[in-house]
Symmetry: C2
Subunit: 456 residues, 2 copies
């Protein structure tokens, strides 16, 4: 075990930072957390940015390990599949999985964060300091420069080991990359997003199916909606920054009205505050960030968005960050107080998986906005379920690997490529699952796929 | 020809911006240039950062096309090869080329910039505005937000077409990448540099050979020195940011003295101002920046460091930027006023070459600090010259392709890889050029290399 008199300093008390604080404290560490924003338990700070998130199995497992799932369960809304809406208002339900437990959950970012913050403080070993903006990390002298956002005063604070859970503008990352040979890649998608809201019905009821992730797919752009506990849905429009159909071409109230009536007529009646939401909420850019290294010697480590920013189309940003945090804990359990080794190992374990989910998330944008209305896609999806039933030790649909299981993302990605080839080959000349040659399927699967360990 | 009533706006009047302004003006365009810094003709603004640069053939050619070489020649100091210094003060000269004209030139960045600024203004079609910091480029509405650095006031200026020659923190790049699907990669080398100075001798004489690029190679780190017209040399120490031998471990005057005495004893007598220079000059970080796209529709284009930052070990940053500028001019000559096509073509032509020289520059760090003392490297270099003599239509040493010729960097890089394989194969079991099997050489070269067009 690690030296439990040790103090670990975290920068950032968001989802990953606050969950990690709980887990470190339960291992006996003292934890000091500096958070730039005000305490969200005292202030309402949500403003049109990712109000709810999708929680999947690999995000649930770390919450279970931290002993938090009993508190989290009441705030979860299960989503069993995609509800695909067409122009006429027709709805087509596509199940995510085949078993009752194969669902993902919509959860309020703020409510989940508050559970983690409360649990961290309840350990008695975590101090969280709010309005404390870490602006510089001096890795030579083990010192943080912190600006108090209320008094605008600066102070210097010593640390032993610092973990950057400080998001996409991470000061810890900047410090590591200023010293080490490093790479930092920003891949902008050229698309942005805007959050809107479907309010509850007059009696607090859900106006569209509560247990679905709703999609209005349009090829190059789309709207999605995730349920909230209160009967409302958080709606997100995704489209290009410029071009014929783009944020550039929707700038006036008249253009907004015309745009939604023309392209999304079936959602318009559900959006009474469309104009207000559209102009008051920010337009968020979509970008992937990959970097390396994620650590510096035995002194600093990056986790969550500080290490990897992914686009939201697989709903895995938080889930990946929670896995990062658990991997650190498990690696501490294995390597004791050899922090250089611990940080090196976590970097090795997680960097390849962060890259893999980043790539899969971009692919899933195409799936959501486009493929979900494609007959071949639906056929291959149906066949994937059938192959999972017939060859459960070898075949698991890629979406299921990512969302319902915990095998490493990199493995899900590489198996997914092989599986996609198999699905394409088997469906090349058929119109339904019944017409598939399952002897051919068997020989392809056994030849190309090893047995899979879905929950290592 | 392009519409010559057109006004082109440049951001940045550094080397690339000011040369481009000359060339555009000579094509008949009106050119407006906004430069963040004061006018260097009125203010001394050099401060320990790349006081002199290496000018090579591919940088000379655009200067010739702009009609500036007669003015530039007097400020050039030819460097015929590397002078490699060892610990005992012995010097070993390694010629860069085989012919008298195969030299590179040391040139003062400031003096060269001033020639270009004067020439630009002398055309009567260029306005250069100094102390004008372009902070935002609005590509939707064709407007620049400029901060006057003297008055701190902001103003908005309209543009038709904007070219970003505004260096590594380019505002034009930021604007393009905020809209377009884009990629921006920063590769930090983990090494930094510090400029020092060898003053002239008592009678203004050069204290070491005037016509060499001097290197004190040490394996993982090195010092180089380039001659200045006044008899002095600009000296640069390159080494790692951290580790046993690194900037991290050389922080006090005593450490500086001990470090140079231990690792660079033969240069110490030449550096009377070592302590002052070391502590007054900044420590510069070394990084490569690659990005795409370099253009936005018919509105904006990036050239020079704004599009590509390379490490300085091939001395090609400025040369590449000058080639960028000439490529734009030649593409305008070809496509007239179809600016969308012009910018697309320049992006296509130059991006692959910017990437190639970035990669070759990193490789050349290893060559300079390490390989120049390696027997096999020297043998392969000698053989490369011999193969150039025997097979001049097919074989040109890679250093020569980059420094003495103008074939595209990407081609120099790919031919260089093939040639290196040939050199390795031919020298695997021999100790001297005389022992090489030239029949084998002939068959390898004809099998693997096409004829080369060195100056297309």
């Amino acid at each position: 075990m690690a030296n439990q008199n040790e103090t670990i300093t975290l920068i950032g008390a968001g989802l990953v930072g606050s969950l990690l604080a709980v887990m470190l404290a339960k291992r006996g560490f003292k934890v000091e957390v500096y958070e730039r924003r005000p305490d969200m338990r005292a202030t309402d700070i949500s403003a049109g940015r990712s109000i709810n998130l999708a929680l999947a199995n690999r995000g649930i497992y770390p919450l279970q390990q931290a002993g938090l799932m009993e508190q989290v369960k009441p705030i979860l809304t299960a989503m069993k599949g995609r509800m695909v809406h067409d122009m006429q208002g027709n709805q087509n339900f596509q199940s995510y999985g085949q078993r009752p437990e194969e669902v993902i959950y919509s959860v309020s970012r703020g409510d989940l964060n508050i559970i983690c913050l409360n649990a961290a403080e309840a350990t008695g070993r975590v101090n969280i300091y709010f309005n404390q903006n870490c602006q510089k990390v001096d890795l030579d002298n083990n010192q943080l420069t912190i600006k108090d956002e209320l008094s605008s005063e600066f102070k210097t604070i010593a640390f032993n080991r610092v973990i950057g859970t400080d998001g996409s503008n991470s000061a810890v990352r900047e410090a590591i990359h200023a010293i080490e040979s490093s790479q930092h890649d920003i891949i902008s998608l050229g698309h942005s997003y805007k959050e809107l809201r479907i309010p509850p019905g007059p009696n607090g009821e859900f106006l569209i199916d509560k247990h679905s992730l709703h999609i209005w797919p349009k090829g190059g752009y789309m709207i999605i909606a995730l349920p909230n506990e209160d009967g409302s849905f958080t709606v997100t429009l995704f489209m290009a920054n410029e071009g014929e159909i783009s944020f550039e071409s929707v700038k006036t109230p008249e253009q907004v009205e015309q745009f939604f009536n023309q392209h999304f007529p079936s959602i318009v009646p559900l959006l009474p505050d469309l104009q207000k939401d559209f102009f008051e909420n920010p337009t968020g850019k979509l970008a992937t960030v990959k970097c390396s290294p994620w650590h510096f010697k035995d002194k600093a480590l990056l986790l969550g968005d500080a290490a990897h920013a992914v686009v939201p189309f697989h709903g895995q940003g938080m889930n990946c960050g929670f896995e990062d945090a658990l991997d650190l804990i498990e690696t501490i359990d294995e390597y004791g107080d050899d922090w250089a080794e611990i940080f090196t190992r976590v970097d090795e374990h997680r960097k390849i998986n962060g890259d893999a989910i980043a790539d899969m998330a971009i692919e899933n944008y195409i799936t959501m906005r486009d493929s979900v209305t494609d007959e071949k896609f639906l056929l291959r999806n149906a066949l994937a379920f059938e192959l999972e039933n017939r060859f459960p030790k070898h075949f698991c649909p890629r979406y299921s690997m990512v969302m319902f299981h915990r095998l490493p993302y990199a493995e899900a990605k590489s198996r997914g490529v092989i599986q996609e080839d198999i699905l394409k080959e088997l469906t090349a000349d058929v119109q339904s699952v019944e017409q598939v040659d399952f002897e051919q399927a068997e020989s392809l699967i056994y030849a190309k796929l090893t047995e899979v360990n879905l929950n290592p």
